[in-house]
Assembly symmetry: C2
């Protein structure tokens, strides 16, 4: 009788293994072979879920999105004044620890990989852009945003600022400590807010 496999459990197991391998070995080490080993599965069993390294990369990117969304949702449920809320959410996007650095590393690998594939749509950053729009709307609705600002350009500015900060935090962690990142984000929010 063939073994009955619970696919949800197995996917969860693979998700955890994929993440562990990315944390330990970086995106370069996130091969189907290494993940199978970490998950304690045969290569064949893993290939049932991922036909190729490409599918694995897309899967890792989905993991990143889910993790980031979960963290941001948790922060948004806290009881915080609007400016602090904005700062805390932005701090979840910029990598300041091994976990978020690994997330950003997957993101960078993903966009670099997808770049030459003109037909492939990059939906990833749109999520960040939508997040920036929400933060600006929130600061505006709570009466914190300075009235004379152009909200549409300010959104673009925040979006570029945060992604640039995230890129620098990933590439030059020695240049930007978590404290400096918080200070720079707080400064930006102070500049666009009334009090």
């Amino acid at each position: 009788m063939p073994k009955i496999v619970n696919h949800d459990d197995r996917r969860e197991k693979i998700a955890r293994a994929t993440w562990q391998v990315i944390l330990d070995k970086g995106m370069e080490g996130a091969t189907v072979r290494n993940i199978a080993k970490e998950a304690g599965l045969s290569l064949g069993a893993l290939r049932y879920y991922f036909k190729s390294q490409d599918e694995l990369l897309v899967y890792a990117m989905e993991l990143v999105k889910n993790r980031a969304t979960k963290r941001i949702t948790a922060v948004s449920k806290k009881e915080l004044p609007p400016k602090e809320m904005a700062i805390e959410i932005l701090m979840e996007i910029v990598p300041t620890n091994a976990q978020t650095r690994a997330e950003m590393e997957v993101w960078l690998a993903f966009v670099t990989y997808m770049k030459p594939r003109k037909h492939a749509k990059l939906h990833i950053n749109d999520d960040i852009l939508q997040g920036m729009e929400k933060i600006m709307q929130y600061l505006s609705a709570t009466g914190n945003l300075r009235a004379e600002l152009d909200v549409s350009i300010e959104t673009e500015r925040l979006y570029a600022f945060i992604d640039g900060l995230a890129l620098h935090a990933l590439l030059h962690p020695e240049h930007l400590s978590p404290e400096q990142i918080r200070k720079t984000i707080t400064y930006h929010i102070d500049q666009i807010c009334i009090f």
Copy 2:
């Protein structure tokens, strides 16, 4: 009698060919084989200059630095009011055409490639950071910068803002037109300047 080779001419020829291949085929197509073909050289002759794909990547990155430096030096010699000067120089960093997009593509390939190689120093972005410091000093020295600003944090903010904008211009050219890029940069400079 062996043929006498002018190494400077040949390097120049290889530089032009490398750039053409990157423009035509992207970084993924910038193989030693394709560059040899474009330069009209044998694989062996090209291998005299590049032992590996790694050396080729480093060389392409050097080309990018030289090209960007030349363009920025040319802009800095123009007769322009300080704010316009700052905006024009920043517009040379954010990719707005095929040439500068190719430069950024090399840069992205380079940093992604170098990222897992912890021992390799990433000097590239330090040049951009130094450029940002110069622009802030220039705006300050010409009396354009608002007095109450924290110049050190403003430099970091400009640096993140410009690199984020550059990343978005590369990854989502449909989202950010050259006109929108100029508008966003002008807005930022207006925010930190007096008049």
